[in-house]
Amino acid sequence: MSYINPQFRHPCSNTNEIGCTRKDYEGVISTLCAGCGHDSITAAVVQACFELSIKPHTVAKISGIGCSSKTPAYFLSQSHGFNSVHGRMPSIATGANLANRDMIYLGISGDGDTASIGIGQFVHIARRNLNMLYMVENNGCYGLTKGQDSATADVGSAAKGGIPNEFAPVDLVSMALDLGASFVARGFSGDKEQLVPLIKAGLSHKGFAFLDIISPCVTFNNTPGSTKSYAHMREHMEMTGKVDFVPEEAEIKVDYKPGEMTDITLHDGAHIRLNKLGDDYDPQNRRGALAAEEKAKEKGEILTGLLFVDPESHDLHDVLGTTTKHPLRNLDEKTLCPGAKALEAINETSR
């Protein structure tokens, strides 16, 4: 059954291929601070889903606790959402995905939610290559509890309190790379042009897509001393290349000279295109990606863009050998229950 008929999309139409308007991808009004980076990310999610013509109800939105984790209420109101407990979004997402491999999973977390209390679950969801897009709205601080440093705060970075952090930061990107995540990217809430295609690619990728998004907290960590401020990001942002996301059906319109572009085909036929800037960057080389990230950090730069993708990886269900016919949660009693006869046989062996 299909409720929304695919429609021809006029280039300047307000509806997408499935006849939805941008409004269909919005949620309730945000209660975050005016200017909060998280709100820009919300807007980017809306745009990405609109442009991908995703059926909103096929998305499951899952989050932990924090200002960032509130945002799933602000987009896709036709999707089911789950604002769970602090730091445990990954396990909820894992269970949900195990139960139903056919939905699109969008996990939203904060840097406190992921890099502190949730780092254990983050590590393990990454290595299991769960099929989902995991976004961290990374502001280097605990917004909701009033601005304490989080574990992603850089050495020397100072939030509103003025005291520079001296602990080594958790770099979620290099961690995800090291743990075998099959898609790793970084964006900036202030750069929608780059962020939207990254979200689209992440949603389309089969496997664990990790997207670290620097998202300034205007209330507590947008200070001159902060490395997660708008100003700092604008000055120190580096890109691996300009990212384009091209859905399966779209014709290829622009011509690139050879060597100008890397084209990666995802499992569903869509393409990610990386238009090279300066250096050759190979987003399918994990070790190279790690090295580039390390190098950028050493130079005090923040590397953004698509860092790594393995379009052929095995996701958790592949490893477990789960049935591909139906989502587990849809299995009927006949399939689930072995029946009285089988039980009698078991009784027999227990005598």
Binding site: Y3, V28, K55, H57, T58, A60, I62, A73, S77, Q78, S79, H80, G81, F82, N83, S84, V85, R88, P90, S91, I92, A93, T94, G95, A96, N97, L98, A99, N100, D102, M103, G120, Q121, H124, R128, L316, H317, L320, G321, T322, T323, K325, L328, R329, N330, L331, E333, T335, L336, C337, P338, A340, A342, L343, E344, I346, N347, T349, S350, R351
Partner: protein, 609 residues
């Protein structure tokens, strides 16, 4: 010294070294007696260690069906572990038997006048018979079983059949095993006056019964109950619940043509994640469970509170062990009652199901999934090490093919399509405190809602409004009342003439209580009896409480935890609830129960005098 004489009523204990494969040999004894029609209760008493420490295997053989732990004393001690031999010798009752390896001479400190010594040259025999040192170790156990067959009159045919059954598929192992049995059998026949005074005689007390461990039964219940997602973390004594589920599911829930699995089992990184996975899967609409023990319950407590307040189904098997903290991981107890009933901060309470036997494990496990879906909350099945990891005599497991899963109030795509009013996830339309769920992805434009552990109104919207909050909390209380009508009733046995006193017990105190009641009856004390099978308590429990002046509450913990629940939830005067407790890590015994009840009766008498 008079040698003990008893048929079908005795305790035999095997003392071995951990990690030497003695368990499967000793099990042969138990299963043979079982197949001969005599109820048995084998118990494995093992250390929290992998290899090299003392371990015991004890079988109570009881035609009368007294299958609780008898006491620390044994009638036959098969003392195969030099390390524990001195202590083991002391536990033999006067007139009992000590069976030992006489390849080396028995130390004089091990000599007692009042017991019988049966020496078997086991090491010597093995050295002679087998080349491979590994085989020597393994077959030693089989040989003494063979000898015991002769000594206690086990049916040798039954024993041999068991071997054949056990090695189905690995036929070449059958012959040497039977050979080893015969070796022992023949040696005993030749050297002793077989059978001894303690012997087994075929009867029909196990007709139609099965011998199975509680954890396997729980796993089967989950399989039959339709569980398809399992997130778990290893911990003794719960691990075998998941191991069994995997084993049975691989056989019974896998597509024969494609090999694809109609289930998913994932080892989590810890118990928090395991419970998170269960909640995520249940939210998505699959039936899901996890299994753990005390420390895991502590770690899951935040998530259990989420389940209560956000109203998400979940099934948790708590196989209790001795606490607190790490405690004694390989010893039994019933001490997570309060931590499970009230797990998590704030005003929370959880439904508990409490099986006593494998059959009940199976039934309650399957029922737990129905209940959890109906009540939209976590259901905790409270088993323990004694029931979970030991083979227990049980009624056979039964499944009615006409049974349908009760999925509770879940709206289908059609339901939503037809719906005209606004969907309110937490509206209490039926007055039973239970709202209507929708599953993610069901309908493109109707029924979506936000699940959250923070306060929410009837439409699942975030709220800090006091009235909305209070309404929600009151509705959860109504749901609790509904739960009382859905959970299994207690098992009540009333004396014909109606006793003024009663005993209340639950779970694995069952056998010991039965036996204690018989003993007390013989002394002229008669009691009504109620076996609790669930929390919250329903009307039957309240009536039983009201109907008696004195109630002995038998439990395997120090703090009389179930008694607290009875006081609190049934408004019972503590003065009439007398705690009867055993918490040594060994299963409570009939003697312990009898003594404590008698002590109380004596005090009462004195007071009256």
């Amino acid at each position: 010294m008079k040698p003990l004489k008893t048929t079908n009523e005795f305790v035999i204990r095997f003392a071995n070294v951990n990690g030497t494969g003695s368990w499967s040999a000793n099990l042969l004894f138990a299963r043979t007696a079982f197949r001969m029609g005599i109820p048995v209760s084998p118990k494995n008493i093992f250390p929290s260690n992998i290899q090299g420490l003392p371990t015991w295997y004890e079988i109570r053989v009881s035609e009368k069906g007294y299958l609780g732990q008898r006491s620390n004393d044994v009638d036959i001690m098969v003392a195969m572990n030099p390390q524990s031999m001195a202590a083991d010798t002391k536990t033999v009752v006067s007139g009992g038997y000590l069976i030992y390896d006489n390849t080396k001479r028995l130390g004089s400190h091990l000599k007692r006048d009042d017991i019988n010594y049966i020496g078997l040259p086991l090491t010597e025999m093995c050295l002679r018979e087998y080349e491979d040192p590994k085989l020597r170790l393994l077959f030693k156990n089989i040989i003494y079983i063979g000898a015991l067959a002769a000594l206690t009159d086990l049916d040798f045919e039954v024993l041999k059949n068991l071997i054949s059954d056990q090695f189905k598929g690995k036929e070449r192992l059958i012959k040497p095993n039977i050979g080893a049995l015969e070796l022992g059998y023949n040696y005993a026949k030749e050297h002793f006056d077989c059978p001894l005074g303690i012997r087994v005689k075929a009867t029909n007390k196990t007709d139609n019964k099965i011998l199975i461990d509680g954890n396997s039964a729980l796993a089967l219940g989950a399989l039959y109950g339709g569980a398809s997602v399992v997130g778990w973390y290893p911990i003794t004594p719960s691990t075998s619940v998941v191991d069994s589920f995997k084993k049975y599911a691989a056989r019974l829930r896998t597509c024969e043509t494609t090999g694809e699995k109609n289930y998913a089992v994932l080892q989590a990184e810890d118990e928090l994640a395991a419970m998170g996975m269960v909640l995520g899967a249940s939210w998505m609409g699959a039936r899901a469970f996890t299994a753990t023990s005390g420390p895991g319950v502590s770690l899951m407590s935040e998530f259990l509170g989420l389940s209560y307040f956000a109203e998400i189904p979940a099934v948790l098997f708590d196989i209790q062990r001795s606490g607190p903290s790490t405690g004694m991981p390989t010893r039994t107890q019933q001490s997570d009652i309060i931590s499970c009933a009230y797990a998590s901060h704030g005003d929370t309470k959880h439904v508990l199901l409490i099986p006593s036997r494998p059959k009940e494990c199976f039934d309650m496990s399957a029922d737990a999934f129905d209940l959890s879906d109906q009540l939209q909350t976590a259901i905790i099945v409270m088993s323990d090490l004694d029931l979970g990891m030991n083979d227990n005599v049980s009624e056979p497991l039964e499944w009615d093919d006409k049974r349908e899963y009760k999925r509770g109030k879940v709206l289908s795509e059609d339901d939503l399509e037809k719906m005209t009013e606004r969907f309110g996830r937490y509206l209490d339309k039926d007055g039973d405190g239970i709202g209507t769920r929708t599953l993610p992805g069901t309908h493109p434009s109707k029924g979506s809602f936000f699940t959250r552990g923070s306060s929410h109104n009837a439409y699942a919207a975030y709220t800090e409004n006091s009235d909305d909050y209070v309404e929600c909390m009151k509705r959860l209380e109504r749901k609790w009342e509904t739960a009382k009508t859905l959970v299994p009733k207690p098992e009540i046995k009333r004396k014909e003439d109606g006793a003024t006193s009663g005993v209340i017990y639950y779970g694995t105190s069952d056998y010991a209580t039965q036996e204690a009641l018989d003993l007390l009856e013989q002394e002229g004390h008669s009691f009504d009896a109620m076996r609790l099978r669930a929390f919250p308590f329903n009307k039957d429990v309240e009536e039983f409480l009201a109907a008696h002046e004195t109630l002995y509450v038998i439990e395997q913990n120090r703090d009389a935890q179930m008694r607290t629940l009875l006081m609190k939830e049934c408004e019972t005067d503590p003065a009439k609830l007398v705690p009867v407790l055993g918490y040594s890590g060994r299963p409570i015994t009939a003697q312990e129960i009898r003594e404590q009840i008698e002590d109380h009766l004596n005090i009462k008498k004195k007071k009256a005098a």
